[in-house]
């Protein structure tokens, strides 16, 4: 179990280093960087590589935003396998996406309780 945590740490950390290089060297904005990573995630799943990657790295592969692309593609592919081409469209949100629904729910809750503060430490 400790070994799994270490692998998640190292793999997750390395993905973030790629993101940092996209920020600092390629001078991309956060929105560009994250969109790019999501697209990479869905392409990797199309090649059948992302699921083995999750088997290997656990949270190191599911926590980075790339896994969004993976789960969307995975849902579309699973449905397409059953129902053919039309499944591509209907299956997209079948498997996912707790991240999106959680973000919406918690976003509205946060708007109810919190106010923004502009202070720096």
């Amino acid at each position: 179990m400790i070994f799994s945590i270490i692998i998640a740490f190292v793999v997750g950390g390395l993905i973030c280093v790629v993101g940092q290089l996209l920020f600092d060297v390629a001078k991309l904005t956060p929105a560009h960087t994250l969109s790019l990573l999501v697209v990479i995630g869905s392409v990797l799943d199309g090649l059948g590589l992302y699921e083995p990657f999750i088997d290997f790295a656990g949270a190191g592969a599911t926590i980075p935003i790339m896994s969004f692309g993976n789960s969307l593609t995975h849902g579309a592919l699973a449905e397409a396998e059953k129902h053919g081409l039309i499944g591509v469209l209907t299956g997209m949100f079948e498997v996912t996406s707790s991240g999106i629904s959680a973000a919406i729910v918690f976003g509205v809750i946060a708007a109810l309780i919190f106010k923004s503060k502009g202070k720096v430490s």
């Binding site: 400790i2 070994f3 799994s4 270490i6 692998i7 699921e51 083995p52 990657f53 088997d55 290997f56 789960s71 995975h74 699973a78 498997v95």
Partner: protein
């Protein structure tokens, strides 16, 4: 210094995993011959660190833990393992899982060594759980 400590830690963990797999098992009908046959087979697997098995009324439920560095091909390893176990026990309904949760639950059953009815119920629950989609 910190790095050195980290590297040695990793080496230790990797080294610790290269031993032969540990096997626990339980046969409800107490057929020692079948048990040994399976335990020997699991012990010979190179990419597996742990295996558990329960025999029950011509049903065989096996869970395995793939070694961390082989986990990338976990699905393939599990599939080929399942095939081989099936050919070893052709008259059994074989179920194999490499999931950590399923493995924990199976070990609980092995530890408790419950009565026939309960084993049946527990094993059914286990298989249903593992079939849940993401």
């Amino acid at each position: 210094m910190k790095k050195l400590w980290f590297i040695s830690c990793v080496l230790l963990l990797v080294g610790g995993c290269s031993e032969r797999p540990q096997v626990t098992s339980y046969h409800v009908e107490d057929n020692q011959q079948e048990l040994e046959k399976l335990e020997e087979f699991i012990a010979d697997q190179e990419k597996i660190s742990e295996g558990s098995a329960v025999f029950f009324d011509h049903e065989l439920v096996v869970t395995i833990q793939v070694k961390p560095l082989s986990k990338f091909s976990k699905e393939k390893i599990t599939k080929s393992f399942e095939k081989e176990v099936k050919s070893l026990f052709p008259d059994h309904k074989v179920f194999v899982s490499s999931d950590l949760k399923i493995s924990w639950e199976l070990k609980k059953i092995i530890e408790e060594q419950p009565e026939k009815d309960k084993v049946k119920k527990d094993l059914d629950k286990l298989q249903a759980l593992s079939k849940e989609a993401t």
